[in-house]
Symmetry: C2
Subunit: 237 residues, 2 copies
DNA sequence: CGCACGGTTCGGCGGGCGCCGAAGCGTCCC
DNA sequence: GGGACGCTTCGGCGCCCGCCGAACCGTGCG
């Protein structure tokens, strides 16, 4: 029993880092996987620069953010994929509360939203695009979702055939499920998800829209994915 | 951008529920998967009954706990396995900070701890026992960890052969990785992990030690697991 | 060289929240 | 029916923490 008590303060301190609305807004913004400057985050969250400066100090000290200073700018980004996963999980947990009507309105009324169609979630693809790719991989027997969440041997072969290298780094799992907050369905994250996203951007299959995390599939991407996964162009839009 | 701002308050509110040390202690205690009374939790956390009563009210209102009232007792338990998973994930995230020396001391100095040997984590087996079973399953090709975390077809057959029914309920994944906080390694959670744990207790493979979440393998359990998974008795202790 | 600008530090204000003890309510048991 | 017990409500206390504006520091640019 006593060892649990030893954990409680740490758990509370970690949660407290996320428990502030301004810090939460920063973390969600940083889910796009990029580095933001303090000023950008301040404007985004609608608070004074001095306020955000203190918040970033706490988040960095708490290990949630990594910082990089360039000239007079302070760039921060999520410390690693574990933190990104954690924030996504927490965000997914809070959404079901409004989940009964949220997906409807998001998909229907604002179906024109570029974010709902496709976006990056930290370092992998999400939104309808992410779901479509995950479904295509599953449908062709490259990804198993029925007994967990893992690539099959055929799936490993597919990545190799597609020219997407999967070099294991550290202990990050190859495949991992990430729950989408608009579609309410799991999509491919982990090392393979990140590699696929990176390749999609590098090879010109997708391009970023504006400065946010929204992405859209290009004509070349439609052709390549149709050939590699048999997807219909309409599914990707 | 605006839809992220809409999420920030919810995220902060959820995190705030965990951000209090007393509430964190309650959540960690409830990770044993059982229902506790308010008084028990108050004594465990070392605060007045009135204080814990208010905390439980918030946790229930926030959807993290489910309550059941019986006579003059108020029983609470974690609302569902998603909440349990969330708390485990957060606890696992905080541990690495002290992870450099923690595991050593836990395994070495207090290697006699029954909790480190075997315990239940919400509704599945953890500790060295959980790791040993997960390793055995993986070693025999019943569980894949190299490309994600999923049972193989042979694994499905094994559960059937062992007489452990895996009836899918809701959307809970069949296999899921749960990071152990003493061993720092993933072990089997999800539907299959829960079914295995339940069967192990029902069939007398394991028995609970005292009233906590510590468990130990019986002689009958050693025989059964040796036959079914080829484990050595020493690995399970 | 000097101004503009991003970031940080500091003091002070205000609100929120966890804590307790006392009092009250309902349940169970003798 | 009376008393013990578990839980809840309420008032009040104290602390912590997020916020701002002002002053300050350093970088980069004209």
């Amino acid at each position: 029993m006593t060892e649990k008590d030893a954990e409680a303060p740490g758990l509370a301190r970690l949660a407290a880092l996320i428990a502030d609305e301004t810090r939460a807004a920063c973390l969600l913004a940083l889910l796009d996987g990029r580095a933001w400057t303090g000023g950008e985050l301040a404007r985004h969250a609608g608070v004074a620069a001095s306020t955000v400066s203190e918040h970033l100090g706490k988040l960095v000290a708490g290990g949630l953010l990594a910082e990089e200073r360039q000239g007079r700018h302070r760039y921060v980004r999520l410390a690693d994929d574990r933190v990104a996963q954690l924030v996504e999980d927490l965000a997914a947990q809070v959404a079901p509360g409004a989940g009964a009507h949220r997906p409807r309105t998001l998909r229907a009324s604002s179906a024109g939203s570029a974010l709902a169609r496709g976006r990056t979630c930290y370092d992998h693809l999400a939104g309808r695009l992410g779901i479509a790719l995950t479904d295509a991989l599953t449908g062709r027997g490259l990804l198993r979702q029925d007994t967990g969440f893992a690539l099959t041997d055929a799936g490993l072969g597919w990545f190799e055939y597609a020219g997407i290298a999967l070099r294991p780094t550290g202990r990050r799992p190859l495949a991992r499920a990430c729950l989408d907050w608009t579609e309410r369905r799991p999509h491919l994250a982990g090392l393979a998800g990140a590699a696929l996203c990176r390749h999609a951007l590098d090879a010109g299959w997708c391009v970023r829209i504006g400065s946010g995390r929204a992405v859209k599939v290009t004509a070349a991407g439609e052709r390549a994915l149709s050939e590699l996964l048999g997807t219909e162009a309409a599914e990707l839009r």
